[in-house]
Symmetry: C2
Subunit: 363 residues, 2 copies
């Protein structure tokens, strides 16, 4: 098992990473202070992992469960209210601990419920997807969507602990494994050139879920994110580099309709666009760009925008014309392979050529 | 104008108290950092004070408004969602400032909306009732009710500033003025004997809204609460003394149905019960008890439980039998006039006699 600490003063917390560790009761005991536990999960995860967790904890705690419908479509105030009702019906008090067992949607909602139940109770993340293990379980962002915008309602709220069991990846569909790997590769690109090199060597082993190597990849991803978050917990500055590829990716997700392209898939295509623009600006070499494209490909991820998507679509979703004109379109770009920056200072010609060539190549 | 600072490290904030100060734009300018402002108020307060505030701020800010229905019955997730929708429809971003203009219900809901809109935006309290000026605007408790419990959903979230304009009390119904005065008297009882003496002398002037004296009473109440909150922001210990009279009061409110007895009225009768028990235990003199009763009476507040209420009603709502038996009934009692403690160590005979005598006297 590997352990790291997210350093946030009196809100610091440990992340444990290992194979089968969701059955190590001591990890939970260290993070649970009261006698009540509410496990929040969803209909897909419950049949796989809920009973074992409830059995593990029932000897020492009063364990209740709340099983939500699966999917981003249910990440809203109504589902959040169901968690609150479950806590109240089971008479949980201010010493209860909420455990989020599932992917990013479960973690975001259970975390927001913990942040706001009786003005805040402890919670533990047990992320079961690669994406949530390397991304949403680190950093304390919790919340739900509003019909008028994603993640518009929420709080910054840190867990007591994150328990990452790599064994849960064995039940993850391959497409979701790839989508998670997209964020892993992103960490190499934005802040760790050696990690990027290592990923190139090990990508096949990682896609086959080699136990030791997947744990290492998650560990280094969490270290990367934890370092950035520790510098900028509330996203005032440097934390924005975590959004490499996300501005383009968001346009893709919106155009295609959420769920048609997974977030990680859109981020992969977006990262390639950002790397391409960084190459045109002379920040990275043509070889660096090829290596980036090849690594995403090896993780079975798209490296071009969807065939259906036109320049007008990008313009509409990124409010490009307006934002480029007034200089407010800020992109995360590479300074070198392994280092990123946030800038609105890039040549319009390069930007246009980057987008046009990608769209043409996708046809 | 009087000013005090609630000392909470990097979450410290100023409270301004004065006559007509809701029209001092500089106080708002110091607390607003962006260009967008959302004023949240209700249907009762809007016709009285909203236009003037919007006019005051419109020269420098984009000001939008959200007018909620009035009353505790609307303090729920649905009304909260309306504030979120208003913010999103008016395209407010993370630099917006929420201003709560109204009583405790508006402040609690607008504060919770500010705490959770895009994971937290600044807010300013402009409390317009005596109760909210001396109680809910200090301490950072925000939230809404759930059908299964009051204030079960919420967050600790501190404002940027509290602007208390005593002029707004001139439109407050007298019954609500008395209800607010109940909490003012409570501060004298729990932590400031000299303030209690002063209140005895000035109670008539205060009930007539003498400009200088009402400001002084609010100032000293806020100082008292701010001192307690600064020692115990998240209510782990000493903050509980603020609940003098609230355990009995809660039973009264619940039995009578919320809204029939105002919170402050139930607290007054509850404080007298707590003082009576403290006298029976020898903590305060019979004269202290008389002074307490007389001061609440002078503020036109009830000093006995409602005539309809039986011992069985108290037992049911306080879960008395069970809690007294297992020693978990903790009450806030007076150590002396001007000092309170939280204890579960009181003679059962005294407790029973206190309750029986009060019920008999109310018939």
């Amino acid at each position: 098992m590997q352990t790291l600490t997210v350093e946030l003063g009196d809100r610091s917390y440990p992340i444990y990473i290992g194979h089968g560790i969701r059955q190590q009761k001591a990890l939970f005991d260290a993070a649970i202070h009261g006698k009540q536990v509410m496990v929040v999960t969803n209909e897909t995860i419950a049949p796989l992992y809920l009973d074992a967790l409830v059995n593990l904890l029932s000897s020492d705690y009063k364990v209740d469960t709340c099983i939500l419908p699966d999917g981003e479509a249910y990440k809203n105030l109504e589902t959040y209210a169901r968690i609150m009702t479950a806590l109240l019906e089971a008479k949980h008090n201010r010493t209860t601990t909420v455990i989020a067992l599932g992917g990013g949607v479960v973690g975001d909602m259970a975390g927001f419920a913990a942040a706001t139940y009786q003005r805040g109770v402890p919670f533990i993340q047990v992320p079961t997807t690669l994406l949530s293990q390397v991304d949403s379980s680190v950093g304390g962002k919790t919340g739900v969507n509003h019909p008028l915008g994603k993640n518009m309602i929420g709080a910054f709220y840190q867990p007591q602990a994150v328990i990452i069991d790599t064994q849960t990846l064995e039940t993850l569909p391959q497409r979701e494994l790839s989508a998670g790997m997209s964020e892993v590769i992103k960490y190499g690109l934005i802040c760790d050139a050696l990690f990027f090199d290592w990923l190139e060597t090990e990508i096949d082993a990682l896609m086959s879920l080699d136990t030791v190597k997947i744990s290492e990849a998650i560990y280094r991803s969490c270290v990367a994110k934890a370092n950035v978050v520790a510098q900028d917990e509330r996203e005032g500055g440097i934390r924005a580099i975590l959004n490499l590829g996300h501005t383009f990716g968001h346009a893709i997700e919106t155009q295609m309709g959420y769920g048609h392209w997974l977030h990680g898939e859109a981020v992969a295509a977006g990262c390639v666009l950002a790397a391409d623009l960084s190459w045109r600006m002379g920040n990275i070499t043509e070889q660096d760009l090829s290596r980036t494209v090849n690594l995403f490909r090896a993780a079975k991820l798209p490296v071009l925008p969807p065939r259906e998507m036109t320049r007008d679509n990008f313009v509409a979703h990124m409010a490009l014309d307006k934002k480029v004109l007034d200089g407010s379109l800020r992109l995360v770009l590479l300074e070198t392979l392994g280092s990123a920056m946030v800038t609105s200072d890039f040549p319009m010609d390069d930007f246009n050529a980057c987008l046009s060539d990608a769209i043409e190549a996708s046809q």
